[in-house]
């Protein structure tokens, strides 16, 4: 008998050699149908692989990231089976699961594949699914593996096998298809209920342009047609909400060849959004006791040698400028500059916690191929701050930072979010992680407690902490369900010591502060990119570059429109008059296109009654309203940063 420990801590005994799938069945048939793979002692296994020793077991389903990626990897094999059947002699390089779906790189022996072929492949895959073939794992001696693919004439798999040792080679077979594969796989093809092959691309073998160009087929699969339909609809919606398209249409930002890639220029409308975000951040941070600073965008090499950015982060930095015999670098992070402000004055425990905030602009080198709209740029306006505190103050400070995140999520209507808490690996203390075992455990525990007490959804990722402390990556989802990495929130034991930061404790002894790095709104670039998609460009009134457009029905009402404009401006409402000589229908349509939250239509009736006919973006006509009433309503909507469009 072996002892199996479940995630809830329960321990049960089973026959040696039992599989995760059998254990699931022993619990319930319903559960077994959902099992895609299993985590055995932290490693992902086939659910059908016999377990020989006492183990910690977690059954993996579609709800687990590892369940999904096993599902997609098995789908890649299924696609390969279909390809082999439709393109006999095709040779296969690698076919991994990716963020959403999978691909396989294939040598079709000079044959072209078309969009129509994709439909044929999908059809074939659906047929194969009906056979519900099992994915069968088999350990193969190296000689036998070489013989198999030599006979098949597959130089790609032979190349892969060349890099493997005897004893670690496995084959997986489903139906008529056998592949060299480390696995794991789902039990059988049956659960792959919905299939979409999305794209064909070229990919050089081993990513080297001197090598042969292989055909890469992308696909995505789901356990139900409903999920696939929802996903495809989300993609369609995401296309409409593409931040690059909206960013241009709404005059948010522009790129220019003479400035350089990844260096957005913020147009007047984008700058209004930037300033509203900064105002929100400054108000929030002031209320939370932060102090603001302004630091240069460059510093001497020596600063980054002290911080360790050089040489460890050099690839992510711009190259140096040599001046008066000294190298200067553009800052990639604000922390070293803030540390210098900390150390510019003598500090005592009475000054702690010291919270230094700056919308600092950093420059990071990203490969030009990686640049993407506002999502991946080389110039980043960060909502940055560093909190210097004592160990005793840490938990309260960390909780306050989390509260700030949650507050922002509410303001922006971000309903789904997860914090990924990356921890240290005790085996690597002193190598990958700074050797402070107690501090690690203490802060990890404090962080975990705060997350639990604050009811924040989080996952723990062992062995992925930063060198200098535990790290929290904040993932958020837009209204259409796309995931974004917003920001990180880091605990830092190391920099304080590297920079010799000190404060005098209550006991009169010098102490080194702990540092929290935090940036709840991330960068303007990524956050505004996210917001463009999230709101489909229909910003809530407080963020909208133009809040009210006044539409006079004809020139006769221009005086009234201009008086109205002045009243709105006096109330600090961003407004314009559409003074074009156009029909009211066209004025309304054009204003809708610019996604202005409110339109005030004014004609004979409105002038006579001293009113406006109010139209709300996305809701249409709200009827006729008193000027004072609507202005007060708008002021309230803006002051409360309401995102409520009801």
């Amino acid at each position: 008998m072996i002892r199996i420990t479940f995630p809830d801590g329960a321990v049960r005994e089973y026959q040696k050699g039992i599989t995760a799938l059998e254990i699931a069945k022993s619990i319930s048939e319903g559960l077994a149908r959902k099992v895609l793979a299993a985590s055995v002692n932290g490693q992902v296994w086939d659910a059908t692989r016999p377990i020989e020793d006492d183990s910690a077991l977690k059954l993996l389903t579609w709800d687990d990231a590892d369940g999904k990626s096993t599902f997609w990897h098995s789908s890649a094999h299924l696609m390969a089976e279909a390809v082999e059947s439709l393109f006999p002699g095709a040779k296969f390089w690698v076919g991994p699961a990716i963020d959403k779906g999978f691909y396989y790189d294939i040598d079709l022996g000079g044959r072209q594949i078309t969009e129509e072929d994709l439909a044929k492949l999908e059809k074939k895959m659906n047929e194969l699914v009906k056979q519900n073939s099992s994915y069968v794992r088999k350990s193969i001696p190296k000689a036998e593996a070489l013989a198999y693919f030599t006979e098949k004439g597959d130089e790609y798999k032979l190349d892969l096998i060349g890099g493997l040792n005897d004893g670690e080679i496995t084959f997986y077979t489903q139906g008529a298809f056998t592949d060299l594969c480390r696995g794991p796989h789902i039990p059988s093809t049956g659960p792959i209920k919905a299939i979409k092959l999305t794209n064909i691309a070229g990919a050089y073998w081993k990513n080297d342009s001197n090598n042969k160009m292989l055909t890469r087929i992308y696909g995505v699969t789901f356990p139900s047609q409903k999920e696939l339909d929802e996903y495809l609809a989300m993609l369609e919606e995401a296309k409409k909400r593409d931040h690059r398209k909206l960013g241009k249409e709404l005059g948010i930002f522009t790129m220019d060849d003479d400035i350089g890639p990844g260096l957005p220029l913020w147009m007047p409308n984008g700058t209004i959004i930037i300033e509203e975000l900064e105002k929100l951040a400054k108000e929030t941070e002031q209320a939370a006791g932060y102090k603001r600073v302004v630091t240069p965008h460059i510093a001497k090499e020596n600063l980054y040698l002290t911080s360790g950015h050089l040489p460890y982060y050099q690839d992510g930095m711009f190259p140096p400028m040599e001046l008066d015999g000294t190298k200067y670098y553009l800052k990639a992070m604000n922390c070293p500059h803030h540390h210098k402000i900390f150390s510019a004055e003598p500090r005592s425990y009475k000054d702690m916690p010291l919270r230094l905030a700056e919308y600092g602009t950093c420059y990071r080198y990203e490969q030009s191929g990686e640049l993407f709209g506002l999502m991946r740029v080389r110039c980043l306006h960060m909502n940055d701050a560093h909190i210097y505190c004592s160990r005793e103050q840490f938990a309260a400070e960390f909780r306050a930072v989390n509260d700030m995140y949650i507050k922002y999520f509410k303001i922006f209507g971000i309903e789904k979010y997860v914090m990924r808490l990356s921890l240290h690996d005790p085996a690597k203390l002193g190598q990958k992680y700074i050797n402070e075992p107690e501090l690690w455990l203490e802060t990890e525990d404090m962080v975990r407690k705060v997350l639990i007490e604050s009811n924040i959804p989080y996952v723990e990722v062992p062995g992925e902490g930063a060198f200098y402390g535990p790290k929290i990556d904040v993932q958020i989802w837009s209204t259409i369900g796309r995931e974004f990495t917003l920001a990180t929130n880091q605990v830092d034991f190391a920099q304080g010591r590297r920079f010799k930061l000190e404060y005098t404790g209550a006991d009169n002894a010098p102490a080194t502060p702990l540092i929290i790095h935090r940036a709840p709104l991330g960068t303007h670039e990524r956050f505004i990119g996210f917001l463009l998609e999230h709101y489909a460009g229909k910003f809530p009134t407080w963020l909208a570059p133009l809040q009210v457009k006044i539409l006079p029905i004809s020139d006769k009402f221009m005086d009234y429109a201009n008086t109205l404009l002045q009243s709105l401006k006096n109330a600090d409402i961003r407004a314009e008059v559409d003074d074009r000589n156009e029909k009211i229908g066209k004025k309304i349509r054009d204003t809708e296109l610019m996604k202005v939250p409110y339109m005030f239509v004014v004609g004979e009736k409105e002038v006579n009654e001293n009113k406006v006919a109010v139209r709300r973006q996305g809701k249409g006509d709200l009827g006729s309203m008193d000027i004072d009433t609507i202005i007060n309503q708008l002021k309230h909507e803006i002051a409360t940063r309401s995102s409520d469009q009801e």
Copy 2:
């Protein structure tokens, strides 16, 4: 007879060979006593030099910059006479007038000069002044000049003569001292009524460290003891108000060796001032119809080749960073970036004038020896904007910019200012100046008219315009009478064309905009440096980093103090409680040192009466006041940006 034209346009006839001094005497003896030199056809002459031809004449007195510098140059000769008498055999290199005073570089033949010697020299100079010796100009053939200084054994003057041609060599003699000198000089030593030798320094001959070190003696002189006393008092006061000293004491900014010279880090108190200034600028610019933009701090080489910064301004720029085979430069000016925003969208005459504003941070290379506190830095936060307009719109736009300057001067209590209008030189059109004779005359005339109509004090400087248009340098004086160059305001015909900027005119034809470059608040660096001196660190309440300090007389009143603090914070007033266990006298003294505008002292009486005892910086006790009354008074003082300390 020759015809002499006076500055007011009057023309009178005089005997050929008459001198400016004689003309002055013919007008009044009082005037003649004040004449130091004369401007004859735009060149500065000795007032005693015969005028042979019809000429435009301006008599120069102490009130003219050229009058002052002639006075100081003559004072340098006077000092040399004293040096020669006390240090026989001394040899003289050059002795120019400088911004305030003069110096002379002297080879004392190995003798050391002491502070005591300066007193002796001053005494000797005062004796020589009593002799009222004339400064006598004499043209000398080159051979004769060489013979004179060869006999004297003066290799320095021989070196100077070597570079001159026969016919352009003049000697000046006063009393026992003769010097090779281009002149001009004042009529005689008599007017040099007040003398102060201020400093001794070493200076390499010809500024080359391989050469001999000469002794440089600095001095300053005035036509009256009163003026000298005022000047020395001003220097004393300026020392107390030194922005570097105050900047450190008040926590405004810091410098750090690891960041680099000329790169200030703005501490929390300095950042509050920055943010108040930006708020003022943004409000002002928004009301004036500006739109804000945000642009990166770097751009490709190509942008600066188009703008002409490369190669013409390369020495003032940071060296390039080479990335993906392209050179990137830190921006030294924001204009090229703004031009790119102009051209990012199609523009029509309806969009004009387009006013793009940004507190853009620029980086300029200044020699490390030139760097000075906040006054000369390498990182500049500029109150920048570019106005794109048609010719028809230009005058109104330019006037509005000037009005903005004047508005700012009022807010900051800047009572003395002058605009230096630099014009083109028609002889150099197409070389030094863009070849648009009509546009030059038209815009210069418009600019001049606006300055006159707005009653702005200005001086015209022919031949000093920028390449691309007339330039206005704005000079301001601090309360203690020191002069600062605040900002420039430039008209630009050239960049629009270089960047192919276009808008569609009302006639449907493409047109190139005129551009106004303007930065009324200059840079944060220089302006805050100026304000520190101007206010002696005692900022008006709206700008003060801390506006109110609450001083409880003892711990018993802490609750009351904290309630008060909350009321102040609710009213957006920056306040703190002094919660130290110190005597009230010490609390008041420490708060005075930090130059906080208001202190609220609270004790038994105040708690019982629900009041505060108000102390105003520089005015002392204002007596007991209701909390609501003083808060409302403060809110009003802050909202109106009052600088009134009465």
